[in-house]
């Protein structure tokens, strides 16, 4: 586990309190995007989006890089970890479920064989 300082935690909480910013993180989970593209996507002004990105950047959730005249945003380390953790929890649920399914199906198989198929 990576430890975060209280200040970082506070920054994250603030950053994630906003639906647009959470949306931006989800979007970046699909792939990097320019601030212009994000502004477009979330129907807001470039200035508005820049503000949001600034907050996310401060929290370590997003990093940005200037490529030519465009500023590209990507998930920061913390954002990546959250996305991975979310998927992993979901996967565990299904893995547990399927393990139980195996037991039921094995039983059906046995019955099937007993019935001389």
């Amino acid at each position: 586990m990576v430890q975060y300082s209280q200040a970082q935690f506070d920054a994250s909480f603030g950053a994630l309190s906003d639906a647009t910013r959470r949306g931006v993180l989800e979007q970046l989970g699909q792939g990097d995007a320019s601030i212009t593209a994000l502004a477009d996507r979330f129907h807001m002004t470039l200035t508005g989006m820049k503000k949001h990105i600034g907050v996310l950047e401060q929290a370590g959730l997003v990093t940005t890089q200037k490529v030519g005249r465009v500023r590209i945003c990507k998930l920061g380390q913390r954002g990546l970890e959250e996305e991975a953790a979310w998927i992993e929890r979901y996967r565990k649920l299904w893995a547990a479920r399927f393990d139980e399914l195996d037991i039921v199906v094995e039983e059906l198989k046995r019955k099937d064989e007993e019935n001389g198929r």
């Binding site: 929890r89 547990a96 059906l108």
Partner: protein
């Protein structure tokens, strides 16, 4: 000491894979070591389904499980969780024996965005069945908030996650 009971299926569990396919789609894949006919049975007979759908390790009680598995038929699952009950229900849109099941998840319906639709395909290859569970959420927000489609355990986990991400922000 770990003495494994070896079954014919082999001691190792098949791998469950999850992919966030798009902002509105989650896909789970898993192989089951049995013909599609039997796997399909376990998905469509309530007395079998209820035995595996809620993993024992999740501490939920399935109070009732009704499934009318035919096109237009309804299903309803009632759970008890920490003193309250939760219901999950919907309609079967497609029922193709041994190969395909499609149902809606209506408990989270809000009238505007529609329901999450779950499609399960059963693909038999050399006596084994490749299962693909595809959830199409009505919106990106639904997938993120867990308001529809997901199961109670998944909801809890989502809530936990959201809490860990954003708790306390309202009062700041």
């Amino acid at each position: 000491m770990d003495v494994r009971k070896e079954s014919k299926a082999g001691p190792t569990k098949n791998r469950t894979e999850v992919e966030r396919k798009s902002e509105r789609e989650l896909v789970v894949t898993r192989t089951v070591n049995a013909p599609a006919r039997l796997v399909f049975e376990a998905w469509t007979q309530a007395d079998l389904f209820r035995r595996w759908w809620v993993p024992k390790s999740y501490g939920l009680t399935l109070l009732s499980c009704e499934m009318d598995v035919r096109v237009g038929g309804q299903y309803r699952l009632v759970f008890r969780h920490e003193g309250s009950t939760m219901e999950f229900f919907g309609t079967y849109l497609e029922v193709t024996p041994h190969s395909r099941l499609v149902w809606t998840n209506e408990e989270g319906e809000d009238g505007e965005t529609g329901n999450t639709v779950t499609t399960v395909t059963f693909d038999e290859i050399e006596g084994k069945t490749r299962l693909v569970v595809h959830d199409l959420y009505p919106s990106k927000e639904a997938i993120d908030s867990g308001s529809t489609g997901a199961l109670p355990e998944a909801l809890d986990q989502l809530d936990e996650l959201l809490a860990s991400l954003g708790s306390g922000t309202e009062t700041r």
